[in-house]
Symmetry: C2
Subunit: 340 residues, 2 copies
Amino acid sequence: MTILINKQQRLASRPAAEPTLDNFRLAEAPVPELAAGQVLVRHHFLSLDPYMRGRMNDGKSYAAPQPLDEVMIGGTAGEVVASRSDRFAVGDRVVGMGGWQQYQVIDAAQPGMLRKVDTAHVPLSAYLGPVGMPGVTAWYGLVRIIAPKAGETVVVSAASGAVGTVVGQLARLRGARAIGIAGGPEKCRAVVEELGFDACIDYHEHRDARSLAAALKSACPNGIDGYFENVGGVILDAVMLRLNAFARIAMCGMIAGYNGEPIPMAAPQLILVNRVKVEGFIVSEHMDVWPEALTELAGLVAHGHLKYRESVAQGIEAAPAAFLGLLKGRNFGKQLVKLV
Amino acid sequence: MTILINKQQRLASRPAAEPTLDNFRLAEAPVPELAAGQVLVRHHFLSLDPYMRGRMNDGKSYAAPQPLDEVMIGGTAGEVVASRSDRFAVGDRVVGMGGWQQYQVIDAAQPGMLRKVDTAHVPLSAYLGPVGMPGVTAWYGLVRIIAPKAGETVVVSAASGAVGTVVGQLARLRGARAIGIAGGPEKCRAVVEELGFDACIDYHEHRDARSLAAALKSACPNGIDGYFENVGGVILDAVMLRLNAFARIAMCGMIAGYNGEPIPMAAPQLILVNRVKVEGFIVSEHMDVWPEALTELAGLVAHGHLKYRESVAQGIEAAPAAFLGLLKGRNFGKQLVKLV
């Protein structure tokens, strides 16, 4: 009998501020025998996402902290390689929350833990990006909170990320103007030329809110009606200076403060002056929208109407460095780790 | 023929920061002859409200600035003393936006400018307070934005003001706990003993957000589900530290910043962490709710279920000083000027 070895990345320690490679530890564990009802999934792709930074802390957040010395949590897409369940067959393509490891043994009967996906029209990795959690995140914030009308202007920060790329394209599909904010000229060019945004502002060229607000004024001559927030800090302050009356802000992430830096909002009175609605959300708390959102997103990807990019690191060993790069904005589009 | 002299308070100059008596000028003008369709209203009460501070500025806000050298705008309640309209008879009790003056001549046909009110069950002055704009403001923010469930905890700042007193009582009538924040032990005692709030915190005893948050923790052992914001600054920061998941903040006023002081929000990431909805509103933009709100409020006042207090200054000459006192929180309940 062959013993399968499962390489894993575990949380070795909690970061004091900015995380480092030392916070992770590569481990190996044998894959156990399958019990009745269990399946063995070989992960093809691991998803890296900004929310994982929050889980590394011990403090109060919306999610329980990641326990020390356990496998880092994370979304995965893979293939059933052994099954003792009649729900899944060997060869099925599946997505789940398998964590930072090569294999996972899972009870197939647990609801919502493993989902079979169709890879005839949508590539497997897209189920971790535009047709997965990042896509539904974009969909929820845009459709349910911002709810843009045709002709309105929607701004999204981290526009070249897995969520931001989808936000802008969905906004355009609904007849709105889409303006991105991203870091660096290459990202900005691709956001406009490849993804079809109306404009993209390079925040590296604007280190204070006043300068960025002036750039937004040029890019959004009719003001800003909707803002999808992934960053916070100076970028939020700048956007708020250009909001129209009755603007909506979907607050999805504040990566600027993930390492504990204070990121005050300079002028909250603008929420009142402009009668703004600001709403924080976590997509996993809105499971009711997933079927509708995924149906739309899968159709758009299958027909080529929703474009996406992936940054792919190779091998479980590369996951920590790829994650640190994601937190610094080194990725373009969805950050994945390819495990096969 | 007797010539009626109409004393008025006009805006003489715009304040650089904190307004002073010099910003106002007492003027006299003869009351003109009535044209066909016009009525003459003698004002019994003038309403003083925090929003007037914003109108004194020239900057961008949600409302046009008050023009210099014109009569200060403001809500009024009075009596028709002459009429050339068949819509109003001499002796009718009416409310309108007559401004800081003793009399107003008005075209009775202009929709919404003058409204006849029933003073058999509700005192005339209450139409400027709990059964008027402040009452509907409280109603809209509480019912439409906070929408408290029975057993939830609602906090309101400026709890002893015209709006705050109504917010807390409406919250309790809906089965929620109501916690006030007010300035000084007398106000806090009255908010609890007279108005029936569950508790009231004296912010004079808590000069920083941490101290106030500790007091809120004691007063709100189950956290805060709804917050009605009239003040901003440190008080908002403290409340945000105690918010529950899915809390709602109705942003009605930020008197802390009315003179142009910066009032940053220390930790906007808490909006995301706790999935909070923050919504700014102006009650005059929601005229559709006024009939429903006024019906409830009038019924509650008529039956003694909604208590209110008034601070009454005497005479048009006293209006500027009373207004400056309002901005400093010297009033308890609705600040009025009695003109008869």
